[in-house]
Structure formats: C-alpha cells, structure tokens
Amino acid sequence: MPEKKALVFKGRAFKFGDNIDTDVIIPARYLNTLDPDELASHCMEDTDSGFPKKVKGGEFLVAGENFGCGSSREHAPIAIKASGISCVIASSFARIFYRNAINIGLPIMESKEAAAGIKNGDMVEVDLNSGKITNKTTGKSYEAEPFPLFMQNIVNAGGLVQSVRKELSKGE
C-alpha cells in the first residue's frame, strides 16, 4: 500500500465555466519567465483581472468540463499552485493539464456532481485521501473519481521528479 498523507483543505470556491484553456489560465505573453510568483500574479487575468489578489490562500478553483485545454505549458498548473489555490475541482480535465498537475503536485479532483453543485463563494472542504468533497454552505457531499494507484504514488512522492529520483537511486 502506498504511504498516505493526511490532506484536508478548507476554503471558499472560485467558480468558472467549461473549457477554461491554458491561455486564460496563464496568457502566453507571460511565458518568458519561470518564476512561480510572477506567473501567479497573472493567473486567470484575461477572464477575471482581480483573481490573483482575491486568492488569499487555501481556496478552491471549481470549473466545468475540459479544464486546462490547449497548450502543454506547465506554467498553467504552476501559476494556479503559486496563486495559493489548494485544489482544482472540475467536471473533467484536459489530458496534458491532468498529467502536469499530478507531475508538479497540484491537487486536482474530478467530479461532475461537485463541479455542478458548488457555487461561487461556497465554503468547501476536501479530503484528498478519501476523495470526499463537502460543500459546507449547502451541506452536500460528493465523491471524486479516485486516482489509479500508479498516480497516487506520484502524488504521494511529491511529484514525478521525486518519484523518478527515488527510482533512479534504487537502480544504482
């Protein structure tokens, strides 16, 4: 069994729609830097210019279908993580965004019901281990799609680099 860390987050939800693309998450004009804080300061700005200032730390980003579609830029999950968002909950994720989020250790959860049931400003609690999402404002709870064991191991190792590093050191 993989080692499990206790990870419970609680905070307000910022709600967005379907097909939130990587150009909206972090416009390409800012991709001339690797600095997570600088990227975070432009996160979501073309759709919600005040977003980086509104996030105080620990909030959730809740969205509809196909979150993170478009480019492969890892700057997108990095910007979200550095903005202070604790976890992204969406009906579905675009595939490159999904693997990037796992690889860099940005918690994500897939649940059509939660994404539909959570409104902007609702207070949400998430238990990453059990996959339970609770809307504290409405009292409703939801179960997220569990990660396959293989991905859970990457998440638990703290990202792909840490997981591969472990593997490489075993080989020596």
Binding site: A28, N32, S72, R73, N103, P148, L168
Partner: protein, 424 residues
C-alpha cells in the same frame, strides 16, 4: 489492436495494450522549445543525474519567442542553448537553421513511422501524419524522459474517422479538421486517439495530413494517427537523407477487428471551406454562412499551416493582386528549408509584391507572443490552431481560424471570403 495500441505495446515491451491500461514506454524522440525546455531543464537537474539518456534522441528547438523578443526570452533561450551544449545534444537548432518544431522534426527525418514521440508542446501530435504515436506532455514529463528515455501513458481509446472521396478546389486538410472539431467539439476526443482511415487518405497531401494530425489536440485528443502509404514512405525516404536517424523503422497498422469507441465517416467532396469563430476551434461554420467579417490582420503560417503547399496556395491567390488597404498580412514560412523552397519557386516574391510581410520562422503571432499582436477590438483571420480569448493579443481581440486559401482570399477582400469569390 489499433495502431495506437500496437505502438504503445511494443514500446512498453508488452504483447498487448488495452485502453485504460497504464504503461511505462520507451520514447524514440523527445522535444522541447524555448518556453517549455527551461522548466524541463530545471527539473532535470533535480533528478540528480548529470547526463541525458541519449544525446541523439532529444530535439531542442527555440521557436516560440525567437528571434528573441525581449531580454527575458533571450535569457530563457540562452539557458536552453547552454544545456544543449553541455549535454552534447545533436539536435539543437539555432536561429538560422531552425524552424517551427512540428514542421522541422519531420523535415529533418527525426520522426519515423512507428515511433513513440513525446514533446513538451501540445501540437506534438502532428507527427501522427507519419504513422507515429506522438503526444504532447508537460516539462516535468520531458525532464524525466530526458533522464530515463521513458514516460508513462494511459492507453487511449480510439475514434476512427473514415475518409472518402476527394477535396474540391480551394479546400484542404485544414477544412476537414476544422469540420471534425466543429462536429465532435473541443473535448470530443478528450483522452482518446483520433485514427484516420479510408480510401480518401490517398487524396490528401502530406502537408494536409500534418495539418489534420496537428489539430487533433484541439478536439482534446491524445494523438492523431494516419496509416503509412507510398506518399508517407517517399516523404520519409527524403527526410532520412540527412542521416539524423539511422535506426530502422516499423510500419504498424490497425487490425480489422480492432475496437473503436466510435466510427465517423467524412466525404471530402462534400466539404466546403470552414471558418472557426471566436473563441473556440469548435465554433466552425461553412464559409457560405460566415457573414460579413471584416479583418485587420491576416496570418498565414504556424505549425498548422506554414508548409510549402500552404505558401503555394497563398501565392497562387495573392499573386498579381494586392492585399486590401489597411489589412496587415503576415506570412511565416515554418522552416528555413520551406522558406528557401518558396523563394526559389517564386512564392515569396508573389507574396511580397502583393503587400504581405514575410518573416523568418517563429511561433510568435499564433500564441500572442510577438510579431503580430492584436490591439483591443481588432480581428484576425489566421491559419493557426487556436482562437481562445486573448490568444493573439488583447483579451478583446478576435481570431477566426481558416485555411491558407481562405486567409489569402480574405487578405485581398479585407473580410472573410471564399477563395472561389476572389479567383472566380
């Protein structure tokens, strides 16, 4: 098994691969650019290794913000260049020899049929035109790939697109893929393979096939893939002449009893030029239904449509005519070689005489990086691949996606128009 399942199975050392299965597979080629490589390099160093697994199987192409648009981009490009030198990478392409990565790698013979390729760029799916499995990944995936030669994959389900017939005049692969995305939506193939098949494929040029595979990602697909035929083989024979890849390649094809999540049929003869309206590639309309859309800028180029055939059609339409007064018409040949060929064939001369500005290869305008940014309220018709909010500049600008033929005709008319109307 489908061709995608076969290639994944072979590269994972397995007899069989089934949709949903997670596999660790060996990669034949890996790619990153000046935007994605810096993060990959940073993460690579965190792995505690000091050399790449194979210096011949990593291609680094500074194409996005090059020739560098500002100091920060120059710093990033320098970081990539120094890494390439330090690791002795054989396939680093400097400005002057480079091109837009997805036109460059096939042209240089770096991707072969049956390959498994990952690239830290979403349009890596382009190489499916050669019968390879190729897919976009993030920088961290690439970092681990550069160290180990492997990556993890979930074997995708496949959608089959059976293509019949022949394209009409002024209609190209771009129109087919825009129509497909319009039909199935920007997540219609999410996490799946888009496999193209059918007797109509022989009537599609290699350049059209690259355009179609290139935009598989715009339907959310993991990869797009074509069967290998005589046209593919003659392309590969030519591209391998530089000798960058000497290993033998294998041609895979889907079994007759392979499983598909869904099968679609497209008849090329029925297709008319398409335009994807803002702000999603799925907002596709027949050009006859486009209405009066005046444009400020026309962009012809990119990894989607910057190949020789694209420049040829643009030159044919614009040759002997003038671009509409006030319409900024920008042409970007995708590689140095394409540029040179277009020059020799007189396409560049025709375009410049018509009033188009021709640039060195860069991804610049496609992603709103540089060389053609839109101001507030401006509109462009572009042969690129995305029309998201703010993609080419100001968040209140608009991008309409179309083929090079439609873009060239629109440059003359100053509004989105069918090439038929300009050419008679």
């Amino acid at each position: 098994m489908t061709v995608t399942e076969k290639i994944l199975a072979v590269h994972a050392g397995l007899e069989e691969a089934k949709p949903g299965q997670l596999v660790q597979a060996h990669c034949d080629m890996m790619l990153a650019n000046d935007i994605t490589a810096p993060i990959a390099i940073q993460e690579f160093y965190k792995l505690g290794v000091d050399r790449v697994y194979d210096s011949g199987r990593i291609a680094l192409v500074p194409d996005h913000f090059t020739p560098n648009k500002d100091i920060k981009s120059a710093q990033q490009a320098q970081y990539v260049r120094e890494f390439a030198r330090k690791m002795g990478l054989l396939n680093y392409f400097e400005v002057g020899e480079m091109g837009i990565e997805h036109a460059l790698l096939p042209e240089k013979g770096l991707v072969l049929p049956g390959d498994l390729v990952i690239g830290a760029d979403s349009h890596t799916c382009t190489y499916g035109a050669l019968g390879a499995f190729s897919t976009g990944v993030g920088s961290t995936d690439l970092a681990c790939g550069m160290a180990t030669g492997r990556a993890w994959f979930k074997v995708p389900e496949s959608l089959k697109f059976t293509i019949k017939g022949k394209l009409r005049k002024w209609v190209s692969g771009k129109d087919l893929i825009l129509r497909i995305i319009g039909d199935i939506g920007v997540d219609g193939a999410r996490y799946m393979a888009m496999e193209f098949a059918g007797e109509g494929i022989k009537n599609l040029s290699m350049d059209s096939r690259f355009t179609i595979a290139n935009m598989a990602i715009e339907a959310g697909a993991k990869n797009g893939i074509f069967p290998v035929d005589d046209l593919t083989l003659s392309y590969v024979k030519k591209s391998m002449q530089e000798g960058r890849r000497k290993d033998p390649y294998t041609i895979y094809s889907s079994d007759p009893e392979a499983n598909y999540k869904q099968v679609y049929e497209y008849i090329l003869d029925d297709l008319q030029p398409q335009v994807a309206f803002p702000h999603l590639p799925e907002n596709t309309k027949n050009i006859s239904e486009a209405g009066e859309i005046h444009v400020d800028q026309v962009v012809i180029g990119s990894c989607t449509n910057g190949r020789l055939e694209d420049l040829e059609i643009a030159a044919k339409i614009l040759g002997g005519k003038k671009v509409h007064k006030g319409v900024r018409t920008l042409v970007f040949p995708a590689t140095q070689n394409i540029y040179l060929e277009a020059l020799k064939k007189g396409y560049i001369e025709a375009l410049v005489e018509a009033g188009a500005a021709v640039s060195t290869p860069t991804c610049g305008p496609c992603l709103g990086g540089h060389m053609g940014i839109l101001a507030q309220g401006e509109r462009a018709v572009s042969t690129t691949n995305r029309n998201f909010v703010g993609r080419m500049g100001h968040k209140e600008s608009e991008v309409y996606l179309a083929s090079p033929a439609v873009a060239a005709a629109s440059a003359i008319a100053g509004k989105i128009i069918s090439p038929e109307k300009v050419m008679g």
